[in-house]
Structure formats: C-alpha cells, structure tokens
Symmetry: C3
Subunit: 406 residues, 3 copies
Amino acid sequence: MTVALEGRDLVSIFDFSDAEIEAVFALADEMSEHTRGKVGLCDGLIMCTLFYEPSTRTRLSFEAAMVRLGGGVLSVADPAQISVAKGETIADTVRIVESYADLIVIRNPLEGSARAAADYASAPVLNAGDGAHEHPTQTLLDLYTLRREKGALRGLSVALVGDLRHGRTVHSLAFGLARFGAKITCVAPEGLEMPGPLLKRLEAQFGCTPAQHRSLDEIVTNRSALKRRAGRQKALAAEVLSLFDAVYVTRVQKERFESQEAYERARSSYAITEEVLARARPDALVMHPLPRVDELSYDVDSDPRATYFRQAAYGLPVRMALLAAVLGRRPARVRPSRAGEYKPRPRREVDFRRLADVRCANPRCVTNHERYLQPQFLFAEYDAKLVTCAYCDQELPAPYAPEAES
Amino acid sequence: MTVALEGRDLVSIFDFSDAEIEAVFALADEMSEHTRGKVGLCDGLIMCTLFYEPSTRTRLSFEAAMVRLGGGVLSVADPAQISVAKGETIADTVRIVESYADLIVIRNPLEGSARAAADYASAPVLNAGDGAHEHPTQTLLDLYTLRREKGALRGLSVALVGDLRHGRTVHSLAFGLARFGAKITCVAPEGLEMPGPLLKRLEAQFGCTPAQHRSLDEIVTNRSALKRRAGRQKALAAEVLSLFDAVYVTRVQKERFESQEAYERARSSYAITEEVLARARPDALVMHPLPRVDELSYDVDSDPRATYFRQAAYGLPVRMALLAAVLGRRPARVRPSRAGEYKPRPRREVDFRRLADVRCANPRCVTNHERYLQPQFLFAEYDAKLVTCAYCDQELPAPYAPEAES
Amino acid sequence: MTVALEGRDLVSIFDFSDAEIEAVFALADEMSEHTRGKVGLCDGLIMCTLFYEPSTRTRLSFEAAMVRLGGGVLSVADPAQISVAKGETIADTVRIVESYADLIVIRNPLEGSARAAADYASAPVLNAGDGAHEHPTQTLLDLYTLRREKGALRGLSVALVGDLRHGRTVHSLAFGLARFGAKITCVAPEGLEMPGPLLKRLEAQFGCTPAQHRSLDEIVTNRSALKRRAGRQKALAAEVLSLFDAVYVTRVQKERFESQEAYERARSSYAITEEVLARARPDALVMHPLPRVDELSYDVDSDPRATYFRQAAYGLPVRMALLAAVLGRRPARVRPSRAGEYKPRPRREVDFRRLADVRCANPRCVTNHERYLQPQFLFAEYDAKLVTCAYCDQELPAPYAPEAES
C-alpha cells in the first residue's frame, strides 16, 4: 500500500507511526546517493527555517537538504530578526511565513511551540527543537544511524550514558529505541537519571524497562561474569563497551553538579578515551548528538567506532527524505501498520467546561506565553488515568486528571 | 504605449506615476499565478536585501519573490553584520554591494537613507522602510489588496483607524488612496491624529479632505440616521463597519499614551472583535499591516472579512512584479498618463548659495548622520511656498523657505 | 603542464606558488565575463560561509561568486548563530559542516584558526580572515587589481600608506608585491610602521627592502629633484602621487594615537583629496581595502584614478576563479614553477619532545584557545634559525628556537 506523507507535520516522534518512520528511512537510503550534487525533486519549492534560537547544525542540515533537493531557502537564523519586539505571536508569524514558503522548519525555546505553529499553519511544520520537549529529526537521524551501521534496530543493545534528565535528544531516542525493539541501558550520575514519568511511559506503552546504572564501572562490577576480569577503571569501561552494540554519550554540563568534585567523578566514570576503545569490541558504535564537552576525547575521533560525525552526516539524507515526502515530491511507500506497532491514535480531549481555569503547570509551556492559545488537555495515550498538556505533553497534576476522567 | 520600468528606483510612493503603479498591479495579477512554483524570469540575477533593522516579514517577502522568479539572493539580515562599527557609510556600502548584486533592497532607520542609497548606487534601489519616512512596497500591497478584493480603488470608502500620527504605513497609504480616488475617514485617539502637514498636502495636491473622528463611536453618534439605532458600544462599532468598504486598523503602542486608562479607552474604542464583525456588513474588509497587538481579536481571524493575512500574502505577487519590472525582465505595460493623474515632475532645487549653512531640522534625517551628504532642499510639489528636504521630505521651517523662493 | 588546484586549501597567501596565483588570475580574467548572469560551473555544489565575525563585504562577495557559478550557499553570518556557547570547537564545527557543504569559507578572530579548520576538514577551506594574521583572498584581489589595471605586477612602484603596523591586509600585500617583483615604499606615522620581523622576512626571502617614510611630504622633501618644486603641502602630496603607479591607502584608527593632535597630523599628511589628485599623474591608482574613514575624500570617488570600488568589484571574478578551481570544476592551468619563484616547500617541524611544554606566545593564537590543538612549531622558510608557530606564524622567542635547531 502506498500512503504519501504529503502535507504532514512532524512535531513529535509520536506523530509518525513505526511504518511511516521506516518509509522515511527507506527514502533516506535513496537520498544517501544524492548527498553530493543536486537532485531536482523539490525544484520550485521554498522552505523557511524559522529559528528563534540559534542552531548552526540543525539549520544548516535542513538548508543543505533543501538545496540538494533543488529547492529554495528563506532563512531566519537569529531571534533578533523576528518581530518579537513588536509583539508578533507564533500563530501570526507562521501564517505570514506560509504565504511565502511551502514548508516551515521551526525552532523555538518554548515547549509546545512547534505544536502551536502546526495548529495555525496550513503548510507542513517540522519541529527543529522546542525547548526541552522534542527534536524529532534528531531522533530520526539517531535511529537511522543505528539502522544503517547495524543493519536493523530490533534486538540491538544500546547504552544511554550521561545526563539523561535534561536532554530531549535522549528522551525521544529512548522512545524510538523502545518502539523499534532495541534494549536500553541507562547510565547516569546521581540526580541526572532518566525522569520517572518517562520510565513509567516506556514500560506502560512499550513494555520497555531499561536497566539503570550510576556509572559504567557499576555495570561491570555488578556482573559476576565480568567481575573477576575487572582490573582497573579503564578496563571496566572497556568491558562495558563490549556489552553494547552502541553507546550513546550525551553532554554533561558542569553547572548541573553541586561540586567540581562531583562533576569530575561523574565525568571520569564514563569518558570515552582511546584507552577505553582499545579494549572495546570492534563493532561497537560510539554515538553523541554533539556538541561534546569533555566526555569524548579527540583521540577517539579517528577510530572507526567513533560514529558521531557520520551520525551528524546522516542528518542530511534523513532530512532530504523527510522534506521530499512531506512536500509530496517523493511519496514514501508506507506499508500497513502491524499489530503491536506504534501508530498515533486520536486522543480524547479533556472536557473544557470542567477545566476552565486550569493552565499547564509547565512555566516553559507555550500556552503560558502566547495567551491567544487555549490550554488544552488530553488523556494520555499510555495511561487513561493521566491527563497531559496537548502542547508540551507535561502531565497535569492531580486532582484535575482523575476528576476530569470520571 | 509601452514604457519599461527597467532600472527604476522605488524610494517613495511618489516615484511612480499612477499609470506606473497600475502597470505594476497588472503584472502582479499575472504573478499571482506563480506564487507557488518557480518562474524563470530573473534567472541569473541577484538581489541583495540590505537590512540595517530586522524585519522578518518584509525581508522574507522580497526574498521569496526573488526565489520564485528564479533569481539569487544575498541576505544581510542583521545590523550587526554590516560594517557600521568600522564606520562604513551607506554610500560606500551600496556601491560595493552593487558590484555583487543586480538590485538592492534596503531598510535603514534613518529617514531619507534609501534616497541616499539610490543616489549613489547605479543598480535599482527599492526602499523597504526608512524610519518613519516611507515604505512604498507596503503601500503598493495595501492598494493592491483593495483593488483585488474590491475590483477597483476609485470610489471606495476606507477608514484608517488607530495611531495615525506615527505610522509611515498609514501616511503613504493615505496618499495612495487619495491618488486613486478613494474616500478617506480618519479615526484616531487624541494626540495620535494624522499630522497637519500631511492633511494639508492631501488637500492641496489631491483635493482630498478626510473626515476626522476620535473613535468609531463618534462616527456613529454624529450621524443622525444612525443615532437612534445606537444601543451599546459594540453595536456602534458594527454600524461603523457598515459604512466602509474597508477598515484599515493600525497598531497603537501603549507607550504613546499618558496613562494606562487613556490607552484602554482608545483601544476599546476601535478594537475589532467577533461581536463587532457579527453586525458588520458582509463584504467589508478588515485590513492591518501587522504585527497586531490587541486591536484585532484572534477570534476574527477565520472570518472571511479578516483580510490581513491575505494582505500580507499579496506582498509576494506585488514584489515579484516590481522586481521583474525594474530588473527589466518583464517590462510593465504603462499607459500614457491622463490629465489630473499623479505623475512625478522634476522639482526645482533651492539655491545652495543662499542656504549654505542650513541643515535639515529632522534629527533622524540621513543628512544629519552621514556627513558626506550635502543637505539639499526642493520646492514642494504641492505648494511652491514650501521647501522640503530632498531626502526625508520634512518641511524646512521659515524663514528659509519664503526667502529662498523669492 | 596542467595541475589542478582541486581540493586545495587557501589559508595563507604562501599556500599558493607564484605560478598558481597566476593561474587563478588567468581564470579570473575568464570569470570577469560572467560577473553578471550565471555560469553553471558549480551547479550542484554547496559552499558554507562560516563567519564567527561579521563581514558584509567579504561574505557577500564569496556568496555572490558561488551564486554566479550556479552553486548553493549555506550562510552563517553571525557569531551568535554558532554553537560557541555550548562549547563547540572549530575542529568539530568544520567536520560537521563539511558533511553538508562541499567547501568552507571561514572567518574567525583567532589567529591560526583557518589553519586549524583546514587541518580537520577534508573539504577545501578558504580563509576569509583570521584575526590580524591573514586574509589571502583580499591579497589576491589587491594583486589582481594592479595586474588588471596596470597590465603586470613586475616593476610597478607601489606606496603603502597609513597604518602599516596593524593591518593584515597590507602585510600580506607586501609579500605579494615582493613575490611578483613590485617595488614597495612604506609611508606610516610614527608607531604605525611595518613591523620589524616582516621587513626582515621581506628582505631575507624576497630581497625586497621597502623605502620607509613618515609622511607623503617627507618623500618629496627628501628628493632633491623635487625639493625646489615643493611649494605647499598639497603640492607635495601630488608630487608623491606622480612617483608611484599605485598608492595603497589604509584606514588609520584614531584610537591608535596618543592625542587627537597626533592623529590629525598623521591623517592630514596622507589624506587623498581632489586637490591632491588634480596634480597627480593621470594613470596613478588610488587603492584602499575599504571601509575608509577620513583618509579618502568623497570628492575623489568620481576620479578615474579612484580604484577602490573597482578593486572591491574584482573580488567577484577572483573568488569565482578560486571557487571553481578548488572545487575542481574549472581546473586552473598552472605552468611549472621557474627558478627563483616562490613555491611552498615542506617545512621541518621542531622536535616535540624538546618543546613539550612550550606554547605559542601569541595570546590570540588559536592554540591558546582551542586546547585539543597540540602546539606545533616549524623552522621558518626564510631563516633556518627561526622557529614559528605552525598556526599563527608568530616567531617563538629565544631560547627555544636556537636550542631546538641544534
């Protein structure tokens, strides 16, 4: 069956079904042959990158994708360029921009802002990051990297290492991995663990229960089979690498820690160095969303297992595929969804009359900044007892949710 | 007769004759069929958008127009990007930029700056806003909107509502409406009325005397025929809407008012809400240059009479037409001017020897900031007793003007 | 013999041999016929302008060149757009950017930064200015201007006038002139003379010993043949102009002087005015890298000898030639190098074991800011007793250099 993705928004990784993501990946395989040179698929079309926050990598990757597809680009690279000072709302901005462009890529620090943009624009809207909420094309390229380098996602064992609390990248990736049947191990210093609600959802919706560790060492020390071989710290880390098909390292920011000492301890416990790689398994991938700070040594860059630059480069074919598909120039071949696979379903809205004065509790939610937006709450896809903000997905705290459901 | 607009500057709405504006509109009608997709008219040509002040809407609209025409774009979106810090003048910047680009679109906060740019550049210069002075392509798209949505401009009754003192948009529009025979009604809170010299010129040059009102209510209360029907305030506003073919609402900035109370009073007196529109006539247009603040309710957006997003969208075919015409790729068909129509005429320059030390009194005039520019004064087109700055058009106060003329 | 410049970096004017520079100039002659319109040479290729410092002129010139060649452009015009805040290094940025673009043009205030970029990127890197260090395409267009307007470089007599201490432009130009056999006269106020090490290298490597003067007047007063004709100051400057094929004037910044008086004295001693030009020789060129401050009167602009706007315009064909050549789309015809001509040669690296803790003494050197870079020192091309930083070219002070060599 052929279902085009034409006209679709991509605000959250949950907007696309598993089958649709696979169709994008198949298209990305084709596009990989065109990352140099030009392919005329989007000739005559215009994309606008509307960035309220600077982001060289994401913006350039989208713009390169559109240029390689033969399309035109309107670029708003800088928040100061946007008429915010004059009080222009996201809703008004996107409705004006879509009269000039055929597709909008938006980055905005407010959580749920991309959903607001998609609600008001008729043109397809792609979310290039809305605060700590979602960055779905990063998730697509992360998954695509694993699929390309490992052949498939199902059955892969992936360690997520570093600050797992604050990174939207690693949150969306966790869901993506769970959806496609990869096994997750979480390695995070105290206080930077994967948030509870997210773990709850991983289990409730996808039956995925990541193992949890404080450090790479801990993983090894806890495994009797490996214990006896454990000599010094570096060896431990190396053993760990031998356990996983991929280690996804994320940036840890010093300011998250109480003391310099705590930071150093956390950092050293998962830093990937040449020494670590020397003992690791020859086909393990070291991934990182970049930019890095100290968690990846520059010595490692030339090692074939250092996947992070290739990972960034996969952003190009993935975004080319996405653009060509939603712009309707290269219909993706989407197979029917199989039982048990993820597929977005219409969600029941919470009755407004009963929640008239309720606002989203998240101060960074777009509904608390753009006041023309009516707060809107939905029963969670994964737990009918939970109510979440339709924009930023944050759970509405009790007593509203249970009452609302009754 | 065919007269090409090739090579022409557009600094002021007075640079083009009525016949030339109509020719641009006829071309815009053609371009309307190409606002999606690409038309190769400007293939191989380059436009530079030189923005010393950010303006997403205007810049993107020009850039989209050039991309749709198949041309290339060099974009200077941010004042910090321009070598101002190193002391580069407008005259030098445009002479360098024109060695790279075939046409320059300039926005600069100094009044008269676009004229200075046009004086020094050989390439066509289009003014995308020079402070409070002019923004002629906004005027073109405002007029084009009325013409497209109403069929013609002559005989239309248009209310200009809001801050009529500070907005260049509404000033140029008033002249445009007067030139094309529309009837103007001004509605402005105390202190924000249309400036006296502008009213004087409207009358002297175009025989246009706008009715003047403090609020929408006042209009109705003053009309006996309507008086008896006047129930409550909202009804009044609705009645008013029934009197006009179009209501052009402009942004009122809170800081213009002495008190919050005065602001609220002004605002409520002309805010357009769903309730107001419910009673208004079915073919009235609600226009706004955007961005809006509180003067237009979001509820109104989906009403077919809410014209402001279509108005912004008309910027695309109008700018495509203008670019194609001045770049000589699509000669506009300009009919001969008719008697009584506006047509720019050479103006007599005031003798410099007698005005050697005179400078323009406008502190925002470009001649008071870019000192290589010789102040230059012209006898006004509309009143031979008046002398105006050749750059910012501000009247030179007595005693210079009368003496100079004698 | 045909040797393509494909894939080559241009970080320093010393990266290209004399024969290679001549080949670029020959190509620029061809490109001069295409500075209007479009030539499809770089169709399907993408250039990224990565500017950590704003520079309208250089950026627009490169972007116009690429657009005229039919290629695509990714533009990073503003330092705030780059992930510096997140701690991204130059090495990481260029490795990511090259997965989107086929060529990188970089401007960064750190000296040696372009070399660091070229070391890490596989794609060609062109230096668009690295602090006070190098700006080789400016040098190419300066030399090209002289060659175009005068027919050849050999034997030309060129005066370099103004601040000769701080300008990278004038330093690189001095080497370029020396390499191609032009005669140099330096005219600089006290304290702003050409730096000693640079003069030493000009002599040691190219046998060039520029005459040194404090002011244009001094040149004339020192020449007996001209002395008797010396009437007043303006006449002197004019006489001077009659001595040179070209006068290259540079910007003097007020803040370089101890007093306003010293600044005024310096400024007036070499300012080029209409009066000066009136007496100068009819074929002298007045050049300037722009932007100017007070050193060139606007009255002079329309004089055919005022070459500075043509000079800026030559940047277009020169950069088109360079892009087409290094991107391999228009192989430059490079003749074999002749004896005595400049040709870069591999340089011996200073042994690291003996210089383990040595860092470059230049606080603006990239190696003192991007700590993954190993300091690296080379024996100077022009003096085997000198050791220079491989990134910023600054001499390493004794005792390291002599010891290292022994």
